[in-house]
C-alpha cells in the first residue's frame, strides 16, 4: 500500500466516475455517436452502456478477490513482477494518454468558446496546476470536491437541455432505426471503450472502503453515464438534426450558445462553459491521479506524490504535440477509443490468470 490514505464510499465513487465520464459529453463525444448512429445515436449509447456494464463485472470481481489493493499491486500479485508491471503500466500509460487528449480538447474548446487569442499553453498550464494540486491533495479531497461541484455541473447540463427544449423537434429522431440495427449494435460494442475510464476506479481500488463500494460505484456510474449520454445525444439530434450535429466539434457548446432566455439573459454560454471547467478538471484530475498512483503501485514506489510534477510536465508537452485540432480528434477516435477496449480487457485477463493460479480470494487476502 502506498501512502495515499482516504476512504471512498460508493456515492463518491459514482460521482467521480460519472463526472469524469460525463465531461466527455461536453466535448466531441456526442458528435461521434451521432456520426455512427444517425438519428438512432441514443440507441448506440444504450448498447454501449450495456456492453460496458458487462465488461466491468470481471473488473469488479477482480477487486473483490483482492480487497484493499490497487490494480498495480494486483498485477504484481497475480502475474509476477515482470508481466504484471508491464500490464498495469500499460493501463497507466493509457490513462495518461487520455489525460493528454482531454486536456488538449478542453483547451481547444475554451479557445473556441471564450478565449480565442489566448495561447493554448497558458490554458493548459492553468488546468494542469488545478489538476496537479487536486492530485496532490489526495484522492479523498478530489472525491469530495467532485461531490461539491457535481450539482453545479449537472445544473449546467440541465439548464442547457431544458432551455433548449422548445427547439427540439422529435421528428428528427426518425428514421427510427438509424443506419440499421446491425450497425447500431456494432457501433455500440466497438465504442465500449468510451467507458474505459472506469478502469481508473480499479487502479485506485485501495482507496475504496470496500470492494462492494467499488463495484457499485463502477456499475452505477457507467449506467448513469449511459442514460445521460443517450438523453444528450437524443436532444442534440432533435435540436440540430443528425447531419448538422455530427459536424459540430463541440455540439454542447453550440447548444449552450443557443440558450436564449429573452432579451436580458442571452449569450450566456461563457457562464455555462465555466461550469464545464469543473467537470473537465475533475475528469482530468481523476485520470491523472489514477495514472500517478498506478505507476507508483506497479513500480512499487512508496509514494505517488513525487511523480506528480514530472507527469504534469510530460502531459504538458505531450498535449501540445498534435498539430491541429483534427489530429487530436483522429487520435482520440482511432487510438484512444480502440485501445480503450483493450484496457477494459486487462482486468478480465488478470482475473482469469488469478483464477487459474489460485491467487487472491480467501487464500491470498492480506
Amino acid at each position: 500500500m502506498t501512502t495515499r490514505g482516504g476512504h471512498i464510499g460508493a456515492l463518491e465513487g459514482v460521482i467521480l466516475l460519472f463526472a469524469s465520464l460525463a465531461a466527455k459529453l461536453f466535448l466531441q463525444y456526442p458528435a461521434f455517436l451521432i456520426d455512427v448512429g444517425g438519428p438512432a445515436a441514443w440507441q448506440v449509447a444504450l448498447v454501449m452502456t450495456a456492453s460496458a456494464l458487462l465488461i466491468f463485472l470481471p473488473a469488479a470481481a477482480l477487486a473483490r478477490r483482492f480487497p484493499g489493493l490497487g490494480l498495480g499491486e494486483i498485477g504484481q500479485e497475480v502475474t509476477g513482477p515482470a508481466l504484471g508491471t508491464l500490464l498495469t503500466l500499460a493501463v497507466s500509460a493509457w490513462l495518461l494518454a487520455a489525460v493528454c487528449i482531454t486536456i488538449r480538447k478542453v483547451t481547444e474548446n475554451f479557445i473556441v468558446a471564450m478565449l480565442p487569442a489566448t495561447p493554448p499553453s497558458m490554458l493548459i498550464i492553468v488546468m494542469l496546476i488545478c489538476v496537479a494540486y487536486a492530485s496532490y491533495r489526495g484522492f479523498e479531497a478530489l472525491a469530495r470536491a467532485a461531490q461539491i461541484l457535481f450539482p453545479i455541473v449537472v445544473t449546467g447540463l440541465l439548464v442547457m437541455l431544458i432551455f433548449n427544449l422548445p427547439r427540439a423537434e422529435p421528428g428528427r429522431l426518425f428514421p427510427f432505426w438509424g443506419y440499421g440495427l446491425q450497425q447500431t449494435a456494432l457501433a455500440g460494442v466497438v465504442y465500449t471503450g468510451m467507458t474505459a475510464e472506469a478502469v481508473a476506479l480499479l487502479v485506485l481500488g485501495a482507496s475504496f472502503r470496500t470492494p462492494d463500494a467499488l463495484r457499485s460505484s463502477g456499475l452505477i456510474g457507467v449506467a448513469l453515464f449511459g442514460v445521460t449520454s443517450a438523453v444528450v445525444t437524443a436532444m442534440l439530434a432533435m435540436i440540430f438534426g443528425p447531419p448538422d450535429a455530427a459536424q459540430q466539434p463541440f455540439p454542447m457548446f453550440t447548444l449552450a450558445r443557443l440558450v436564449y432566455l429573452g432579451r436580458f439573459l442571452q449569450r450566456t454560454e461563457s457562464l455555462i462553459v465555466m461550469f464545464w471547467f469543473f467537470a473537465a478538471a475533475v475528469r482530468i484530475a481523476m485520470l491523472f491521479h489514477a495514472a500517478a498512483v498506478g505507476i507508483a503501485d506497479s513500480l512499487g514506489l512508496p509514494a505517488y506524490r513525487p511523480l506528480i510534477f514530472p507527469l504534469a510536465v510530460l502531459v504538458f508537452s505531450l498535449s501540445l504535440l498534435p498539430e491541429d485540432f483534427l489530429v487530436v480528434l483522429r487520435l482520440e477516435r482511432d487510438w484512444i477509443r480502440t485501445t480503450g477496449n483493450l484496457v477494459l480487457l486487462i482486468p478480465l485477463l488478470l482475473l482469469m490468470i488469478a483464477v487459474v493460479r489460485r491467487k487472491g480470494g480467501t487464500v491470498g487476502a492480506p
Binding site: 456515492l11 471564450m114 490554458l123 492553468v126 488545478c130 461539491i148 449569450r267 457562464l271
Partner: protein, 592 residues
C-alpha cells in the same frame, strides 16, 4: 555656546547617531548578555538553596515512611528563610504587588506567621474578617476545651481557626507561588514545613454583558466574560448533567494560563477529547493570551484562511455544541469559547437560526451563502464580464457602460482595485475611529468619496454599485474569521478573473473547493456531512426542523448518537399510532 553646539550637531555628518541617546543595543552586540547573566545568577542561587532544603527535608522524611516522604517540600521551618526566598522569587523590594504581612497568632506561646497575597487579586474583606481576625484575635474561642491554653498546631489552625471555604496545604514554594498568583492567600508558620492556602480570589472581572458580535433578536442575551470559571458556569447552567466535565490544563511558561476543556462524558467521542488535550498539552510557549492565539497552536491548518475551529461568545451556542458531542475549550482571560471540531457549514449558522422556526433559519443561511458568493465573486465576475465576456451583458447596459468608461482613463481592473482598496481603507478606519464619530465618518467617506470619484470620472458609476454590494455582502457572514477570509480571497479571484476571464475564475474556484475538501478539523472532514456524505443530522445549509433531528451529527462520531426519541411530539394526534409503539422508549440525551 548653546547655539554653537546646536549648529555643530546639525552640521556634523557623523552625528547621525548620538552616543548619549538611549539604545537597547546594536545589532552587533550580543542580546543583553550581562543583564541576563546577573539575573540568571541570582535566580540560580535561590533555586539551589531551595533544592538543598528540599533534599534535606526528603532525607529527614525518609525515615518516617512514605506518607511523610510525599509531603516533603522545600519549605523550611525557619520563617525568615522562607520569607527571604519568597521575596527573592517575587523580586520583592522592587515589586509592590506581593503583600507579606507578618502576624503573631495568639496561641500559647504566640506563633509567628506570614500572610502572603497578591494585591488586587484578592478579596480584602475575606482576609481581614476570615483570616486575620480569627488568627490574631479569636484564638481564645478555641480555648474552651479543657486542655488549658491553646498550643499552636497546624490542625488547629486548619480545623478551627480558618473559616475559609477552600483551604489546602502546600509543601513547596512553587505551589505557594502558584497559589498566590491565582489569588489565594497563603499562610506560612514559624516552625512548620507546611503552608496553608486559603481561597480568597476576587479577580477584577467585568460583569456579564450582551454579545457584541453574535447578537440575536430572539434568544438569550448573555455572553462570555474574561473569567473562564464564570464562562464554564454559564455553560453548566444550561447543561444540568453530572456527566459534563471540565478539565483544567495550564498553558504557557510565563502566563500559566488556565485552559479549560469542557465536554459531556458519555456523549463525546473519547478519542476527540484525548486529541484536543494532547494538542493543548503539547504547546511549548511562554504566554497564551486569548483563544485566538491558542487556536493557532492547536488547529489543523493554522495558516489556512478558513478557520478550522469555531470561536463563539455565546454560552447557549457552546452548550448546544457540547450537547452535540463537540469539545469546548476556554482560555482564562478570554471572553470566547473555542469549539472543536468544526465544519464549513457552521460558519453560516447562528444561534438564532434554531430559535426561529426552521424555514426562517434555512432562509437566513441561504441568504448568508448568497452573500458569501456575492462578496467572493462579484468583483471577479464584473471584471470577467467587462473585459472578456461582454457579450453576456445586455446590449443597452453594455453600451451605457462603454459610454461611461470612455471618460475613465484607467483599465477596469485598476479602477476596481482602486475602489476596493479604498473601501477596505474606509472599513478599517471606521473600526478604529472612536465610536461617537465613527458612523458619521463612515457615511461621509462612502457617500462623498463614491460621488466624487464618479464626478471626477475616475470610476464609472456601475463600479460603485459593484463595490458597495460586495462590501455590504461581506458583512452578512456571522463568523468574523471567515469573513476576513472572504475579503482576502475576493482579491485572489479578482486577479484570476482579470488574467483569464471565466476560465481563471473557474480555476480559482476549483482550487478553493479542492483546498476546502482536503481540510480537516481535528480529524473531521471540513465539508462533512455533505462531502463525504454522512447520515445523522443534516444540519448544514438547510436547517431541519428541531423535532426531526433525532441524531447527533455523525461526523463528530458521538458515543451516544441519539438525542431525542423518534416521536418528539407524543401529544400530537398525528403521532398517536407512533406514541403507542414508542411509549416507553426513554428520553435520552441532553437538551438539543
Amino acid at each position: 555656546m548653546q547655539f554653537w553646539q546646536w549648529l555643530k550637531r546639525s552640521l556634523d555628518p557623523s552625528a547621525t547617531f548620538q552616543n548619549q541617546a538611549f539604545s537597547l543595543g546594536d545589532r552587533g552586540s550580543k542580546p543583553a548578555a550581562e543583564e541576563r547573566g546577573s539575573a540568571w545568577l541570582k535566580d540560580a542561587e535561590m533555586r539551589t538553596e531551595r533544592v538543598l532544603t528540599h533534599i534535606d527535608s526528603i532525607l529527614q522524611a525518609a525515615s518516617q515512611g512514605t506518607e511523610a516522604l510525599a509531603q516533603a517540600g522545600d519549605i523550611t521551618p525557619d520563617l525568615s528563610v522562607n520569607r527571604r526566598r519568597l521575596e527573592a522569587m517575587f523580586r520583592l523590594p522592587v515589586n509592590k504587588d506581593l503583600i507579606l504581612r507578618e502576624v503573631e497568632i495568639a496561641t500559647q506561646p504566640p506563633t509567628r506567621a506570614v500572610v502572603c497575597f497578591m494585591e488586587g487579586l484578592v478579596d480584602r474583606n475575606v482576609i481581614n474578617r476570615d483570616i486575620l481576625q480569627p488568627l490574631m484575635l479569636l484564638t481564645h474561642l478555641a480555648e474552651e476545651g479543657e486542655h488549658g491554653p491553646t498550643r499552636f498546631s497546624l490542625r488547629l489552625v486548619v480545623d478551627r481557626l480558618l473559616p475559609g471555604h477552600q483551604v489546602s496545604e502546600k509543601q513547596t514554594l512553587k505551589e505557594v507561588a502558584d497559589s498566590i498568583l491565582s489569588g489565594d492567600t497563603v499562610l506560612l508558620f514559624d516552625g512548620e514545613r507546611t503552608a496553608i492556602a486559603v481561597e480568597t480570589k476576587q479577580p477584577p472581572v467585568r460583569s456579564v454583558t450582551e454579545p457584541k458580535v453574535e447578537q440575536t433578536i430572539q434568544g438569550p442575551h448573555d455572553s462570555f466574560v474574561e473569567a473562564f470559571r464564570m464562562n464554564v458556569a454559564m455553560v453548566r447552567r444550561r447543561l444540568k448533567d453530572p456527566r459534563v466535565v471540565t478539565e483544567i490544563l495550564t498553558v504557557g511558561q510565563v502566563s500559566s494560563t488556565y485552559v479549560a476543556v469542557m465536554y459531556i462524558d458519555g456523549v463525546v467521542n473519547p478519542k476527540l477529547v484525548a486529541e484536543v488535550k494532547r494538542r493543548i498539552q503539547g504547546i511549548r510557549v511562554d504566554t497564551v493570551t486569548d483563544v485566538g492565539v491558542l487556536a493557532q497552536y492547536v488547529e489543523d491548518a493554522p495558516s489556512s484562511l478558513m478557520p478550522t475551529s469555531l470561536t463563539t461568545e455565546r454560552p447557549d451556542r457552546t452548550a448546544a455544541y457540547l450537547a452535540e458531542g463537540h469539545v469546548a475549550v476556554f482560555v482564562d482571560n478570554s471572553p470566547h469559547a473555542l469549539i472543536f471540531p468544526v465544519t464549513f457549514w457552521s460558519l453560516f449558522q447562528t444561534a438564532e437560526d434554531y430559535y426561529l422556526r426552521y424555514p426562517f433559519g434555512s432562509f437566513l443561511r441561504y441568504t448568508r451563502l448568497a452573500s458569501v458568493l456575492t462578496s467572493l465573486t462579484v468583483p471577479a465576475l464584473y471584471i470577467a464580464l467587462v473585459n472578456y465576456h461582454r457579450e453576456m451583458i445586455p446590449t443597452e447596459l453594455m453600451l451605457f457602460l462603454a459610454a461611461a468608461r470612455e471618460t475613465v482613463p484607467m483599465p477596469s481592473l485598476v479602477e476596481l482595485l482602486l475602489m476596493e482598496i479604498s473601501f477596505e481603507l474606509i472599513r478599517e478606519a471606521a473600526t478604529r475611529i472612536p465610536n461617537i464619530i465613527g458612523p458619521t465618518i463612515g457615511l461621509v467617506a462612502s457617500l462623498i468619496l463614491g460621488q466624487a470619484a464618479v464626478e471626477a470620472r475616475i470610476v464609472s458609476p456601475l463600479l460603485i454599485l459593484v463595490v458597495a454590494i460586495t462590501g455590504l455582502a461581506s458583512f452578512a457572514l456571522p463568523n468574523v474569521l471567515a469573513s476576513f477570509a472572504i475579503r482576502l480571497l475576493r482579491f485572489a479571484l479578482l486577479i484570476a478573473a482579470a488574467v483569464l476571464g471565466f476560465y481563471g475564475l473557474a480555476a480559482g474556484m476549483l482550487l478553493l473547493v479542492v483546498y476546502l475538501s482536503g481540510m480537516r478539523s481535528v480529524g473531521v472532514p471540513y465539508l462533512a456531512p455533505v462531502a463525504p456524505r454522512m447520515e445523522g443530522s443534516q444540519d448544514t445549509m438547510m436547517q431541519p426542523p428541531a423535532y426531526t433531528m433525532e441524531f447527533r451529527p455523525r461526523h463528530v462520531r458521538p458515543v451516544d448518537e441519539r438525542r431525542q426519541a423518534d416521536i418528539t411530539r407524543p401529544w400530537d394526534p398525528m403521532n398517536r399510532a407512533g406514541t403507542e409503539r414508542n411509549h416507553d422508549s426513554p428520553q435520552e440525551g441532553g437538551s438539543p
